[in-house]
Structure formats: structure tokens, C-alpha cells
């Protein structure tokens, strides 16, 4: 009898971590679930505030309308198709651009010796210290003076310098053995050839990991696109959602807003989940 109750108590204690973790998972999943469900009902149902917990029948209509039409029942919006494209261009340009210019500058700092080498390195390093938000107004002015408002260039190029990626690549390059470089020199490879034939292939994992992190960084930009984009054709999807919501009154095209939100979350979540292993390793490595 004693043994039985003891093992029963034990089993209960063993359940505690599961219960806590499940509650945690639910807290994170619940808002998403609500949004998914909401995107399958009509706006009146949502607006009344008693959204059922099971899917409705309006999914096709809502997503179709959000995807391609420029107005809902109550207001006009930028179609999701346009905003998704803008977000995609922004995220991809920032991610690939950061990777490209960081990997070559890290290569320069790690594999060459030249006057002012460390000065350049520190100059890049300082950018790590100040997030774009801090210097947002003067940076905005520079972009405006260059006539880059409402352009992809204005949206992306100012965010493309990356100290983190440069540091990560440099760190990795320093682990490439000297002998490998020497072997390549004797084989007849010059600096560029070595970069293309050896360094790039060896950096594949790092590039993949950084890509995930930087893609999400780019996709989730908020303040910068808010300032730089004025015209509806340039709107990114994250900005688009909050513009659709406005002040959050009940009388809103909630069905379209929720469908748009789902579509806005999908690409970054897909990238994180599909590339989870690389991304976790890369995230932790790049901050080490």
C-alpha cells in the first residue's frame, strides 16, 4: 500500500514538468490559433467578439480577398500579394547583402595585412554598438537627401552593414589552418581563387545559419520601413497589418487583418522551423 501511493506520488511529480511545458507551449500557440481561426470567419462574427474556437467557412474568401484585392468592406488596403513581395525583397536583400559584404570584408581582415587594417575592423565593429533605431532620424535624412525614399535601395542598403556577420565570419576564418592556405598557394591558387574554391564551400553552414537569422531580422524590420515607405506599393506586410488595424475599433475588416497576419507570419516561421538546426547553432555561435 505504501509503495503504491509512493509511486503514485512520484508519477504525479514527474508530470509537473510536462504540465508546465504544455502550459508554456499553449501560451505561445494560443494567440496563433485564435488568429488562424479568425481568418476563417467573417468580419461581423469577429467584430461581435465571440469568435468560436473552431474554423468557420470563410477561409477561401478571406485569403483570396486579402491576397489580391485592394479594399475590404470598410477601407482600402495594399493587397497582401504586393506587401509580401516587398517584405520578401527587403528580407532577402538584407540577408544576402549582409552575408555578401560581411564575408568579403571578413576575408580581407583575416587573410591580408595592409595599412589601417585594424582601423577598418574597429570601424565596422562600432556599428555593432548602435542599433539603427538610435540614429534613425539623421539616417532618414541622409536617405531622403539621396532620393531613396520609397525605394528598395533606401529600404535595404542602410541596414546592410553588419558587424555581427563580419565578426562571425572572421572568427570562422581564423580557424582555417595556415597550412590549408599554404597548400592552396603551392597548388597555384591566388586570393580570389582560394576564396571561391575553398573558403566559400567551407563557410556553407555558417552562411545558412546567418541567412535564417538575417532573413528574420530583415522581415521583421518595423521603424525603418515605417519611415522610408510612403506609397502603398512599397508597404511591407508587418507595417501593412498595423495600418489596417488603425486604432483597433471593433468595426474593422478583422477577417482580412487576421488572414494577412497569418500570411505575414508564415514565411519567417517556415524558415525557422525548416532550418531549425542551423539556425540555433548559428544564433548561439554568432553571439558567443
Amino acid at each position: 500500500m505504501t509503495t503504491l501511493s509512493q509511486s503514485g506520488g512520484r508519477r504525479l511529480i514527474d508530470l509537473v514538468p510536462h504540465i508546465v511545458l504544455i502550459v508554456g507551449v499553449l501560451i505561445f500557440a494560443f494567440p496563433i490559433y485564435v488568429t488562424l481561426i479568425g481568418s476563417t470567419w467573417d468580419s461581423a462574427t469577429i467584430g461581435r467578439g465571440n469568435l468560436p474556437l473552431t474554423p468557420g467557412g470563410e477561409a477561401l474568401v478571406n485569403y483570396g480577398q486579402a491576397w489580391s484585392e485592394s479594399h475590404g468592406a470598410r477601407a482600402s488596403y495594399t493587397p497582401v500579394r504586393v506587401m509580401l513581395l516587398n517584405s520578401l525583397v527587403m528580407a532577402l536583400t538584407i540577408a544576402l547583402g549582409k552575408i555578401a559584404i560581411s564575408i568579403i570584408s571578413a576575408y580581407a581582415v583575416a587573410f591580408f595585412r595592409f595599412p589601417f587594417r585594424m582601423a577598418f575592423f574597429w570601424m565596422i565593429f562600432i556599428t555593432l554598438m548602435l542599433p539603427v533605431e538610435v540614429r534613425i532620424i539623421p539616417t532618414y535624412k541622409v536617405v531622403a537627401d539621396l532620393g531613396l525614399i520609397d525605394s528598395y535601395a533606401g529600404l535595404t542598403i542602410p541596414l546592410i552593414a553588419s558587424a555581427t556577420a563580419t565578426l562571425l565570419f572572421r572568427q570562422f576564418f581564423l580557424t582555417i589552418p595556415d597550412e590549408l592556405v599554404e597548400a592552396a598557394k603551392i597548388d597555384g591558387a591566388g586570393a580570389l581563387r582560394f576564396f571561391v574554391d575553398v573558403v566559400l564551400p567551407l563557410s556553407k553552414t555558417n552562411i545558412a545559419a546567418l541567412f535564417v537569422i538575417l532573413f528574420i531580422y530583415g522581415w521583421n524590420q518595423y521603424l525603418w520601413p515605417l519611415l522610408i515607405t510612403n506609397s502603398a506599393d512599397m508597404e511591407t506586410i508587418v507595417i501593412g497589418i498595423t495600418k489596417m488595424i488603425g486604432t483597433g475599433e471593433a468595426a474593422n475588416d478583422w477577417n482580412l487583418i487576421m488572414a494577412t497576419t497569418v500570411l505575414a507570419m508564415l514565411p519567417p516561421i517556415a524558415v525557422v522551423v525548416l532550418m531549425q538546426r542551423w539556425f540555433v547553432k548559428g544564433l548561439v555561435d554568432s553571439e558567443k
Binding site: 488568429t35 532620424i137 539623421p138 541622409v142 521583421n220
Partner: protein, 294 residues
């Protein structure tokens, strides 16, 4: 640290550095310099002439009771976000790291919120806590609690704290998990052989060994709360009601973009830079290791 073997091209390294350096100069050094320049000047009404005024802009900013209020809000907000997201993440990470069934699945299910934009996180919370359309928002009201974060400043602050923390938990979780996995199994085994129970093991071994990670996350979360949560606040409360959820960065935006007060907003930018530099200096212990011993 320098490798022994190098290439001896003269021009190539400069070409390789050029894009990064150009972007840094044009979009970083130059604007930062301008912010500093503007912070010590006042422009006339037409923007034609500007006058050097020493620290007048700073004086104006810092003696504005509103600004002091914003500093207080920012402090409360960022401490709350940091503490909440660190605490929850640590709890979940310790549980998910223990040898329980389905640990992998839990990990995946807790990691993905990293992908959400702060503004999107805010929107999701609004869907739930909006007093008119949100199920929990309505529930609170029906239970007799007068819930409307759009009118009540404390509720608004609570709301942005929760939404901002909710998003940051996954980031902290990832790092705590990595930190936990770096703790050698043998240390834990030795402790349990010594008779230490789970709670004891946590406080006497896990927590101290995690302290570098915790410290690192502390700084990262502070920076997050200061800057990246702009989206959360902008999407959820627009800094209101009143100025209840106005943080420093939101005010820079408000003064610089909406009110077009360049000198004041630049002075605020400079103050923010000083704060970030201070935070980074604190973190420098880690960064230094990264730079010199990498």
C-alpha cells in the same frame, strides 16, 4: 590575433572592404555625426541658419517633466520585460533540458516565436485582449474587471510588457538551452551522487554555471526592450493612453518625425547612444573575448 599566412595583394583587401565601409560611412558614421552636430545646434524656424548652443538641447530635453516620465516608463518597461522573459525562459529551458519524454518536440514548439516580428506579436495579443473583439478581453470585462488598455495607462503598460516579453522568451530559451547543454553531464552526476536533490542541484550548480549566459541575455534583452519593442508599442498603444507607454525610442520617433523637432530628437538620440554604449561597455567583457581571442 593574426594568421601566419596571408596573401600579399595590395589593392584587393581594400576592394573587399569597400562595400561594407561605404555603407558604414554613409549610413552610420555620417548620420551619427549629424545627430551629434544637431544635438548642439538650434535651427531657426525656416531651417536656414543654425546656431551653436552647447548643451541647451540636452538641458531642454532633460528638464522636460514629460521626458523624465518617459525615462521612468522606459525603466519600468525594460526591467519588467527583461525579468519576465528571462524568468519564463529559464524555467522552460531547465524543464525542456531535463531527460523527459518529448523534450525535442517541446523545444521546437517553444522556439518558433523567435520568427515573429515584435509588431506582429503585439497584433496577436490584441486579437485576444482587445476589450471588444478579444475573447480574453471580453471575458475580463464580463467578470466585472474594467479592462480597456486603450483607456487605462497601467493596463496599457501591462499589455505591452506582456506582448514584448512573450516574443522575447524564445530567444532567451534558445540561449539558456545551449548554456544548459554545455554543462558537463559529469558535474551533475557528481552532484547527485553527493546527494543533492534537483532544486539544490539547480541553485548550486546549474544557475552559477549559467551566469555568463544570463548576463549576456540581460544586456541583449535590455537593448531589445529599449529599441526593438518600438513595433510592439506602435502597433498596440501608439505610446498612449496619454504617455503611459511612451518609451525613449518612441519619443525620438514622435519628436523627430511627427513633431519635426530635429535638435530635441537629436539630443535624445545622443542620449540613447550613450545608453547603448554604456550597455555595450558592460558587455565588453564578452565582446573583448570575441575580438581578441577568436
Amino acid at each position: 590575433m593574426q594568421r601566419r599566412v596571408i596573401f600579399d595583394n595590395k589593392l584587393l583587401p581594400y576592394l573587399l572592404l569597400a562595400p561594407q565601409v561605404a555603407v558604414t560611412l554613409v549610413f552610420f558614421i555620417w548620420p551619427a555625426a549629424q545627430a551629434i552636430w544637431q544635438s548642439v545646434h538650434i535651427q531657426d524656424a525656416f531651417g536656414l541658419r543654425s546656431e551653436f548652443v552647447w548643451f541647451e538641447n540636452f538641458q531642454v530635453v532633460l528638464s522636460d517633466p514629460n521626458y523624465v516620465g518617459t525615462v521612468k516608463t522606459t525603466a519600468i518597461f525594460s526591467v519588467a520585460v527583461t525579468a519576465l522573459s528571462l524568468g519564463v525562459a529559464l524555467l522552460l529551458a531547465v524543464l525542456a533540458d531535463s531527460k523527459i519524454k518529448g523534450a525535442r518536440a517541446y523545444k521546437t514548439l517553444l522556439i518558433w516565436p523567435y520568427a515573429l516580428a515584435p509588431a506582429v506579436a503585439a497584433v496577436l495579443w490584441m486579437f485576444i485582449f482587445n476589450p471588444e473583439i478579444g475573447s480574453l478581453g471580453r471575458l475580463l470585462n464580463r467578470l466585472g474587471y474594467d479592462w480597456d488598455y486603450r483607456l487605462n495607462g497601467d493596463q496599457a503598460l501591462t499589455m505591452v510588457v506582456l506582448a514584448a516579453s512573450w516574443k522575447q522568451v524564445s530567444y532567451n530559451f534558445i540561449f539558456f538551452l545551449a548554456g544548459l547543454q554545455a554543462i558537463p553531464r559529469s558535474v551533475m552526476e557528481a552532484a547527485s551522487i553527493d546527494g543533492a536533490g534537483p532544486a539544490r542541484r539547480f541553485w548550486s550548480i546549474t544557475f552559477p554555471l549559467l551566469s555568463p549566459t544570463t548576463f549576456f541575455l540581460l544586456v541583449v534583452d535590455m537593448v531589445y526592450a529599449f529599441f526593438e519593442t518600438f513595433g510592439t508599442i506602435h502597433a498596440l498603444t501608439q505610446g498612449g493612453p496619454g504617455k503611459a507607454t511612451e518609451t525613449l525610442i518612441f519619443r525620438v520617433y514622435q519628436d523627430g518625425v511627427v513633431n519635426n523637432d530635429l535638435g530635441g530628437s537629436s539630443a535624445q538620440s545622443v542620449i540613447l547612444m550613450v545608453i547603448v554604449i554604456a550597455l555595450t561597455a558592460v558587455q565588453f567583457r564578452f565582446v573583448e573575448r570575441k575580438v581578441h581571442y577568436a
